[in-house]
């Protein structure tokens, strides 16, 4: 005799409705993964976002799809895929993802059999996993957790439906479930679901997720993306970004993009430099009104590349220099942003890296298709840059026929050179001192031109130099114009000068404690070779920047962070991303050890606090008892104790029964709590298998509660108490 099943069950139609709902949810979750992938599927995504909820809420709509559409669906999908594939055969993954999306969409807007339900799970899993591997974002973690929970529920419902459908049913029942009253279904769900089981299942799932998280933290890292090669299949096309072919004016374009370019962790905040110039590349060649990286400089980078997880620099390592960790977003650049010379760069795996000691530039052979992380030790962050290169003398391979441009020569018309010489004379800096010239020239430029992102260079003869024209005019300009103009002036004055590109500044995310640099922080400045110091000097001629030599007086360390602190909601959201990066990226086992240490420290601290609190409470109690007792105090305490005793006894006598009765009065239609409780005790009695005479009396009372008319119930609490007592006695 079965003793299960004390509550109503969902019927087949209701299970079908539930299945339909969860299926729609799964499809929606998997469709939205496309947002995080760099796949052109916006139309499909919008279609899915509209169609899936509508069809899920009104399953009857699927019947309106003409029969012909079903017959044509497969050939159409296949041909669309074939055309798509033919157009993108170099990158097969995006068409496959689009196909998966189309299939999910088709499955959702048509009636589903069991096979089709399972197909939704498989397609959804494909989309979610690919989305996770490609994007490596924290949303993926949330998505896969929700997806797994839904898929488990979905499978459960499918199994239930299968179980019921194997029983013979009346003909014509199929499709009858499509008239859904969602409110009624929700009500039925509330009736039928055993919430204890549901909560237990939820806890179990949460436990599994938590355990997985712990395992994830604990196990040695490996690169999922690299082992699957999935990221290679989607190459990211950055809309903005620095490259060696950057044209004059491109920096301003980058500035218009406010998305995050990189996030930086620093191990010691007190070492924060006054000025943050994230140097990425230098442009040494000037011709036809624009700066570019000379072919020779590029070539020099190409020569010294190696597959390596570490790049050794020339700067000395000192205990005081902080460790910087960079997380560079996709599409920023393949040149690594750095503050200056460094001792060592460590990657999270082997990378094909090119490093030129002379220019201090580090470049990846390939543009990274996902977030790039690296750690820099012993990085100098001051305004002067000591490099092996002496004023533009880059060592080239002997066999090379390439010639480096001179950093002091200019290819200009004579009249333009004359103009430049006149301006240099007007600046009037003492010869031989690069810092002096830099300060004077910057001041001179700032006096002539205001700063503006919108600038126009006055028209002139077609072959005349635009930069010289701009300096000649009174037009406002942006950083590139200032940097370019300064370079022309400095070279005319005989100082080797080049334009440096990268980011300037950033904001301090107080939540995740990292520096966030946006594309809008893109900047151009100059580097002048200071022969006296034997180092390259950073000069930012753009108005508003600190003048050369000023940085010594500028605030440093925490004060810098306080100035650029960002507490906005966007920062809070980005902090999640950084948190995720920190967890998935690992350079060695250090962070894991640190994590365990921190956990232990935290537990110790809590324990210490708890002990302290306990001790304090005990002391307080002792003091309280020791303090003199008067009549009022005794009376007050006596009364309180009596009230507590009265409350407990009253509750035991009548409270629970009254509560049960009140609830049974309120819950019309649902399972009655008194009856349920009585059923529970009856079950216990029958499980105990006893046939004692004293049990019969209790059993009769319980049966009365379970099956009898409620108006003639005995006091439920008393009966339950007697049942408990009798069973306990029987066990003894």
């Amino acid at each position: 005799m079965s003793m299960e099943n004390r509550r109503p069950q969902l019927n087949l139609a209701e299970l079908h409705q539930l299945k339909w709902l969860i299926g729609g949810l799964l499809a929606l979750i998997s469709a939205w993964t496309v947002v995080y992938m760099d796949v052109e599927a916006w139309l499909l995504l919008v279609l899915a976002t509209v169609a899936i909820p509508v069809v899920t809420v009104r399953p009857g709509l699927t019947m309106r799809v003409p029969r012909l559409a079903h017959r044509l669906a497969f050939p159409i999908l296949l041909s669309v895929f074939a055309i798509d594939m033919a157009g993108h055969w170099r990158e097969p993954l995006p068409p496959v993802i689009r196909l998966a999306l189309m299939l999910v969409l088709y499955r959702v807007i048509t009636p589903r059999k069991r096979r089709d339900d399972l197909q939704i799970i498989v397609l959804g899993l494909f989309l979610v996993v690919v989305g996770g591997v490609v994007s490596v974002s924290i949303v993926f973690a949330a998505q896969i957790v929700v997806f797994t929970a839904c898929a488990l529920l979905f499978l459960l419902v499918i199994t239930l439906v299968d179980g019921m459908e194997s029983e013979p049913t009346l003909a014509g029942e199929t499709g009858g479930w499509m008239q859904v009253e969602w409110r009624r279904l929700a009500q039925r769900l509330r009736e039928c679901v055993d919430w204890r089981v549901a909560v237990l299942g939820g806890l179990l799932f949460a436990g599994v997720v938590g355990l997985s998280a712990v395992l994830f933290m604990a196990i040695p890292r490996f690169e999922l993306g690299n082992s699957l090669f999935l990221d290679r299949l989607i190459t990211s096309h950055a809309k903005t970004g620095f490259s060696e072919n950057i044209q004059f004016g491109d920096v301003v374009d980058i500035q218009r993009d406010t998305s995050v370019a990189l996030s930086v962790d620093v191990s010691d905040r007190s070492q924060m430099p006054a000025q943050l110039y994230w140097r990425m590349l230098v442009l040494d060649e000037y011709s036809k009104g624009s700066f570019r990286m000379s072919a020779a400089a590029k070539f020099s980078l190409d020569r010294v590349s190696a597959q390596n997880a570490r790049v050794q620099g020339d700067a000395p390592l000192s205990a005081r220099t902080p460790v910087w960790t960079f997380y560079v977003e996709t599409g920023t650049s393949r040149f690594l942003p750095l503050l200056g010379a460094f001792n060592e760069i460590g990657f999270e795996g082997e990378k094909e890296v090119a490093f030129n000691r002379d220019t201090g530039l580090v470049m990846l052979r390939q543009t990274p298709s996902k977030m790039l992380a690296y750690r820099v030790e012993g990085m100098q962050s001051g305004p002067s840059l000591k490099l092996p290169e002496k004023g533009g003398e880059i060592r080239l391979n002997d066999k090379s026929e390439l010639k480096l441009p001179s950093l002091t020569e200019l290819v200009l018309h004579t009249d333009e050179k004359v103009k430049l010489a006149a301006w240099v004379a007007e600046i009037g800096a003492p010869p031989g001192s690069a810092p002096e010239f830099a300060r004077s020239a910057s001041r001179w430029l700032a006096k002539r031109h205001a700063y503006s992102l919108q600038s126009s260079i006055g028209s002139g003869p077609a072959d005349s130099d635009p930069l010289v024209r701009w300096v000649d005019s009174a037009e406002p300009g942006h950083c590139e114009l200032f940097a370019g103009a300064f370079t022309l002036l400095a070279r005319t004055a005989g100082y080797p000068t080049r334009v440096a590109l990268g980011f300037k500044g950033g904001s301090w995310n107080a939540r995740s404690e990292n520096i966030t640099v946006r594309n809008s922080d893109a900047h151009a400045w100059c580097e002048v070779y200071d022969k006296a110091a034997g180092a390259w000097l950073r000069v930012d001629p753009t108005p508003g920047a600190a003048a050369v030599g000023d940085s010594a007086n500028a605030p440093q360390g925490e004060a810098v962070l306080a100035r650029i602190r960002d507490d906005s909601w966007a920062a809070r959201f980005e902090s999640l991303r950084v948190f995720w990066y920190r967890r998935i990226v690992n350079f060695d086992q250090q962070s894991q050890v640190r994590l365990v240490h921190n956990a232990k420290k935290l537990a110790d601290e809590r324990l210490r606090e708890f002990k302290k609190t306990l001790r304090e409470k005990l002391e307080a109690l002792k003091a309280w008892i020791a303090s003199p007792w008067d009549a009022r105090r005794v009376a007050a305490w006596g009364l309180s104790a009596a009230a507590v005793v009265f409350g407990v006894v009253g509750w035991r006598l009548a409270g629970r029964g009254a509560w049960l009765r009140w609830r049974s009065g309120r819950m019309r239609g649902g399972p009655d709590p008194v009856r349920r409780e009585a059923g529970r005790w009856l079950r216990k009695i029958s499980d105990s298998g006893s046939v004692m005479a004293d049990l019969d009396g209790v059993r009769a009372e319980l049966e009365n509660l379970r099956y009898g008319p409620s108006a003639k119930w005995p006091e439920p609490t008393g009966v339950f108490r007697r049942a408990k007592r009798t069973l306990a006695r029987r066990r003894r």
């Binding site: 079965s2 004390r6 108006a711 003639k712």
Partner: protein, 323 residues
């Protein structure tokens, strides 16, 4: 009608039924379960079909019941030449009064034993079945009420099928229960053998209840509380017989109602004012078995009955109890 029965009424009903039970035990030895089911049938105002071999005490059972409640008893031996009017009565012309006068048939009693009902022609059978259903006889447009309470004990010989007109399933449906008496235990049979009497007419029994008591019991039984989950259990059992592949057809709505009424009567019999799932379980075979037929009919009626009982037991085990 109130929702439930008051405690004094229940205890009074129980007393009456206990007296009846004890009284019948005097003559029917070792058949307590049969007596209980007969009483259930009486309280539920249903009719009984007893299928058994001749000479196991069917007549004695019916007669004892009639005597115990001080009611009129009639016995009709069904044969193939029995006419409907032999059962219900006939209108005869009265010379003195110059009009037709209705002469009541044997069916106008409280307990009617229809012996070997399957020997009569379908026409006669249906005459009896109509009386069972309506509790009245209509002759020449005039309705004559039969006794109240009215309980028909129909008997059938399951083995001897020669020259019989088996009752179709639709007619079987009108019986509340079908019972088997079976042979008594050796000890009980020895006691029967010792008794001097040979005929049921020789049975001397005191009446321990009267008609009004029985009618009141029948009203009270209808008021016995049956909780929703138990009703749902009845429904599930009924549905299970309908979806069972081995049955030709499931139990009718009347069958479900019969199970409910019988369970209410049993609860009252045991002194309860509410139905337990156990009541339903105990009664499912006597109430359902005769209403069902197998898809693959067995040539042996007893074999078929055994198979049906086994399936019903299986169904009972499969349908979850409302606990």
């Amino acid at each position: 009608m109130s929702d439930f029965v008051s405690a004094p009424v229940v205890s009074e009903a129980r007393q009456i039924l206990e007296r009846l039970r004890a009284n019948m035990r005097v003559t029917i030895k070792g058949k307590d379960d049969v007596i209980e089911q007969v009483l259930v049938c009486l309280v539920a105002a249903g009719h009984l079909l007893i299928e058994d071999l001749p000479g196991v005490g069917k007549t004695t059972l019916a007669y004892s019941l009639a005597r115990s409640m001080n009611c009129a008893f009639a016995r009709i031996q069904f044969t193939s030449d029995l006419l409907p009017s032999d059962v219900t009565g006939v209108s005869v012309y009265d010379e003195h009064e110059k009009r037709f006068v209705f002469k009541k048939g044997p069916v106008f009693a409280n307990v009617v034993l229809a012996d070997e009902i399957n020997r009569a022609t379908p026409k006669t059978q249906s005459a009896l079945l109509e009386v069972m259903d309506r509790a009245r006889v209509t002759i020449d447009g005039e309705a004559h009420a039969v006794g109240a309470p009215f309980l028909v004990f129909a008997t059938q010989n399951p083995v001897d099928y020669e020259g019989t007109f088996p009752l179709p399933e639709s007619q079987m449906d009108r019986f509340l229960m079908r019972l088997h008496m079976g042979y008594p235990e050796a000890n009980d049979e020895l006691e029967i053998l010792r008794a001097p009497r040979t005929n049921y007419d020789a049975i001397v029994l005191n009446a321990v209840a009267n008609r009004d008591d029985i009618l009141r019991l029948q009203v009270v039984a209808q008021q016995v509380f049956i909780e929703d989950s138990v009703l749902d259990y009845v429904l599930k059992l009924v549905t299970a017989t309908r979806t069972e592949a081995e049955f030709k057809a499931g139990v009718s709505v009347r069958g479900g109602l019969a199970l409910k009424h019988a369970a209410q009567a049993r609860a009252l019999l045991l002194g309860r004012d509410f139905v337990l799932p156990e009541d339903v379980q105990t009664l499912i075979v006597p109430v359902f078995a005769h209403r069902l037929a197998l898809v693959r009919q067995s040539p042996d009626a007893l074999e078929e009955r055994r198979a049906i009982t086994a399936i019903l037991r299986r169904i009972t085990a499969a349908v979850a109890l409302p606990v």
